[in-house]
């Protein structure tokens, strides 16, 4: 009988070659953990190459999960458990592992040739270099092949199931149920039942190995977290974002039209929405990024909710068309799933360095609304907000997600759709003015006095035929105008329209004793939250706030910032929000904390940095 020990939280990292199926393994472990009721957060990390040379350091793919019996905010700074499928995975990830941590290692791959490939002169399993860790050497491939000897699968297919053996073993170690994974495998390999059964057998063999092998004396349990009542699911940012777009179609009653060109890490949004035609969602995979946004804008003109999704390099290409949308004053949702740049940069790694591009990366005075989700599940809500603003104010809205949010997952308390906001639109159907002769006429740039939005008359509406274009338009009539005073008026009016967008106030979390505010935006919400908790646990006072609305910023922003001696702004860029704050709020003492390593902040480093500012100024 094994001993069972209770833990409050664990961080596990699965690491292997990109061909070893580590993302799938991590996904399944996540699903099991979610099912058990733990709170969790995940961080997939994989190379840009689809299949880098096998067994090499650049080919290592990993998946980290942090799960706990309390609510948590990040995928964890340091793993306590490392599953290493080969020497490259061990070498690439060992430096992150907590001292004294557990390593489950696939010994079958520790051949002289594989060790040499990654620069190990001696076998680390034998030379004492892992003495500070608890190492469990397991012949994962050999055991899997042996377990599947009776199954009608090739040796190669049997060997490929070793990730399920590993999953079975780790599931046993942390007392996770595997039934859902068995169901999943039957579905995934529906066309190949023999492969499905082999994978299930490998999964069970891994579980049984844990139970019988004497090496594993202790088993762990992490009890369910006390989350708010409701129905939960696990969701990645890209999925939640795609569902948010779908929901915006339902909430507005408009057909959704997505124009997109494949690009990492945004392509999954295109894939997801392509599956949802039943909601009246049309997806066009365009010939390039420019055509993708052009088609979306054409559809918006026609009365659809036009959307385009991309990453930084694609957004740069769309810039001219977004400016046209500013001039046409039509709704257009633009999603930038940011990745590390410039240029191709690190396509699978995260960064927040497109904020200034989102704000100003167009020609002329071309302001647009800019929003940023703060977590994977927030991507759902942020798209509803983006649609609300775009439709009500007839403007392009940029949504800044990033690679961390897009691929990371967290439990999401499912919304009650009865609470779905009504964001329906009234198209223009009648003339709204008179022409020079006093006849009833349609004035496409006569504005709503409240929102400054212009009427949206879709082609096909009798009697409202009109022409719009990129040339400056005369106020009200929309006719071509080269008049200097009119241009000045129109530029200022478009700016006033964006500045006047109704956004909720900034919420401040201050226990009443803080002199320093930490202000974040986007995906740093989790790490900042964890760092703030850490500081408060130590008795260090700090206030925090998070901007989901970057343009316009909430109306109380100036007042909030003015309350604090210092405002620390952690960003995964070299200070872009800080630049905006210094420009907009000159009296505020903004202190930047910046990293551009392609990875999210760890809460520990952030906590240390914040403490440094608080204590030493």
């Amino acid at each position: 009988m094994n001993t069972v020990r209770q833990l409050d939280r664990v961080v596990i990292r699965f690491a292997g070659d990109s061909g070893d199926g580590m993302q799938l393994t991590g996904d399944r472990f996540t699903a099991e953990t979610a099912k058990l009721g733990n709170d969790l957060s995940t961080l997939p990390n994989y190379p840009a190459e689809i299949r880098a040379p096998a067994g090499t350091l650049p080919g290592v793919s990993s998946f980290q999960i942090h799960f706990a019996d309390t609510d948590i905010l990040t995928p964890g700074d340091q793993p306590e458990v490392l599953i290493a499928m080969n020497p490259a995975a061990l070498k690439a990830n060992l430096r992150d592992l907590k001292s004294g941590g557990t390593i489950v290692v696939n010994t079958d791959e520790f051949t002289k040739r594989n060790l040499t490939k990654v620069g190990y002169e001696a076998n680390p399993l034998e030379d004492g270099s892992l003495d500070d860790y608890q190492v469990h050497p397991v012949a994962l491939a050999g055991l899997t092949i042996a377990a599947l000897a009776e199954y009608e699968v090739s040796k190669k297919d049997a060997e490929r199931s070793k990730n399920m053996f590993a999953l079975g073993l780790v599931s046993w170690m942390y007392s996770r149920p595997t039934e859902a994974t068995e169901e999943f495998l039957r579905g995934k390999f529906k066309a190949k039942p023999a492969i499905a059964e082999a994978n299930i057998a490998a999964l069970k063999a891994g579980w049984n190995y844990g139970e019988t092998a004497e090496a594993f004396a202790v088993r762990f349990e992490v009890p369910p977290a006390k989350l708010n009542a409701g129905t939960y699911r696990n969701v990645t940012g890209n999925t939640a974002l795609a569902w948010g777009i779908t929901a915006a179609g339902v909430a507005s009653g408009l057909p959704v039209f997505l124009g997109a060109y494949p690009i990492t890490p945004a392509s999954d949004i295109l894939h997801e929405l392509s599956k949802h035609k039943r909601f009246g969602v049309t997806t066009v995979q365009a010939e390039d990024e420019i055509a993708a946004v052009g088609a979306a804008l054409g559809a918006s003109w026609g009365g659809a909710l036009g959307v385009t999704t991309s990453s930084g390099p694609g957004i740069a290409l769309k810039s001219e068309t977004i400016s046209l949308a500013v001039s046409l004053e039509l709704p257009l949702l633009v999603v930038d799933v940011q990745r590390a740049g410039p240029s191709t940069g690190l396509p699978t790694k995260t960064e927040q360095a497109d904020l200034v591009m989102a704000m100003f990366g167009r020609h002329g005075e071309a302001p647009i609304a800019v929003l940023a989700p703060q977590s994977p599940s927030d991507c759902f809500d942020i798209m509803l907000e983006a649609a609300r603003i775009g439709l009500a104010y007839r403007t392009p809205v940029m949504v800044l997600s990033d690679g961390y949010i897009a691929n990371g997952a967290e439990p999401w308390r499912l919304p009650d759709l009865a609470d779905l906001p009504d964001i329906s639109v009234a198209f223009a159907t009648e003339p709204n003015g008179v022409d020079a002769k006093g006849e009833p006429a349609f004035l496409p740039y006569l504005r709503d006095p409240e929102t400054l939005a212009r009427p949206w008359a879709v082609p096909g509406t009798p009697g409202l035929q009109h022409r719009i274009g990129g040339i400056e338009k005369a106020d009200k009539t929309g006719d071509i105008s080269y008049d200097p005073a009119n241009h000045d008026h129109m530029v200022r009016t478009r700016a006033a329209k964006i500045a006047g967008i109704d956004v909720p106030d900034l919420e401040v979390d201050d226990q009443g004793d803080a002199d320093v505010l930490v202000l974040g935006w986007g995906s740093t919400w989790g790490p900042i939250g964890a760092a703030v908790r850490g500081l408060r646990d130590k008795g260090v006072p700090i206030a925090r706030a998070h901007l989901r609305y970057l343009n316009p910023m909430p109306g109380n922003t100036a007042e909030v910032l003015a309350r604090y001696d210092k405002v620390v702004v952690p960003e995964m860029n070299l200070g872009q929000l800080a630049l905006l704050l210094r420009g907009n709020f000159p009296g505020v003492n903004v202190v930047g904390y910046n990293q551009v390593r392609g990875l999210p902040f760890t809460s520990n480093e952030l906590q240390d940095a914040l403490e440094e500012v608080i204590k030493n100024g």
């Binding site: 859902a180 129905t231 124009g259 001219e320 082609p459 009798p462 009109h466 719009i468």
Partner: protein, 344 residues
Amino acid sequence: MADAVKLEAPKLKAKDFKSTQEVRWCPGCGDYAILAAVQSFLPELGLEREKIAFVSGIGCSSRFPYYLNTYGIHSIHGRAPAIATGLAVSRPDLSVWVVTGDGDALSIGGNHLIHALRRNVNLKILLFNNRIYGLTKGQYSPTSEPGKLTKSSPMGSVDAPFNPLSLALGSEATFVARTLDSDRAHLQEVLRAAAEHEGSAFVEIYQNCPIFNDNAFEVLKNPETRDEAIIRLRNGEPVRFGAADGEKVVVQSGYGLEVRDAADVDEADVVVHKADVDDPAYAFALSRLSGTALDHTPIGVFRNVARPTYDKGVRTQVDEAAAGVDRREALDRLLHSGDTWTVL
């Protein structure tokens, strides 16, 4: 959509399609003739004005939508086919037209043009080819002849030009035609055929720019040369032309076509024009009869074949999937799909 065309077609006139905007092309521009021809042709569509949308890019020709009393977008350089694709896919009840020029469609917007044609989106694309950049005041364009002297090529252009029809045919276009700004009857005949075609229709209109490239098509317009230079294509009829110094015919030659004196050719060897030949090689060979000197220039419909359209394909999938779906209920089911758990 069944309600796209009203059964009782309104008796609209050319003047009903004129907008209130002052037309601002240079005096003598070929665009005036094209505008007048289009305005007097549009009533033939039998559609209410609001059911017609014109989308243009940038360039002299792209001012076109401002002068029509329909819905219109004057967009950005080269992107009209992309914007029109979004509109055509989402609004099957509209008749969507693209107006573009040789620089707009073939240079900055080349990519969108070829992809619209290969997809066979239901768009009517009118390319005004004046073989020069007009709005930017006279640089050589992708259809300018080699050696062209312009402001940006003072020693003569070293660019090799596109043959727009060859490009369209290479892009799998299902309808390809050419006409002239100055021949209103022919222009309208081609517009009619284009309008009737389901899918992308590509119409090259030779258009004179009197300021920067005057008389570029003189050989096709001068009564002394035009009969010998123009080959009028008529479906089902032998391809013959010319008058003054004897009749000419088009015959097969090697892998292509060539012009011969009719007197030297057996009647049975004269090519009979068939725009609906599935193999684009024939239309391509026709497009190669005229070089940059325009010596033997076929006009009319080169190719007109049926192929499923992109926009209908996209809509069919969405319509089939969405039929009878309660979207709110389906959204609830989507959110609850897969692994979920409940906390009490």
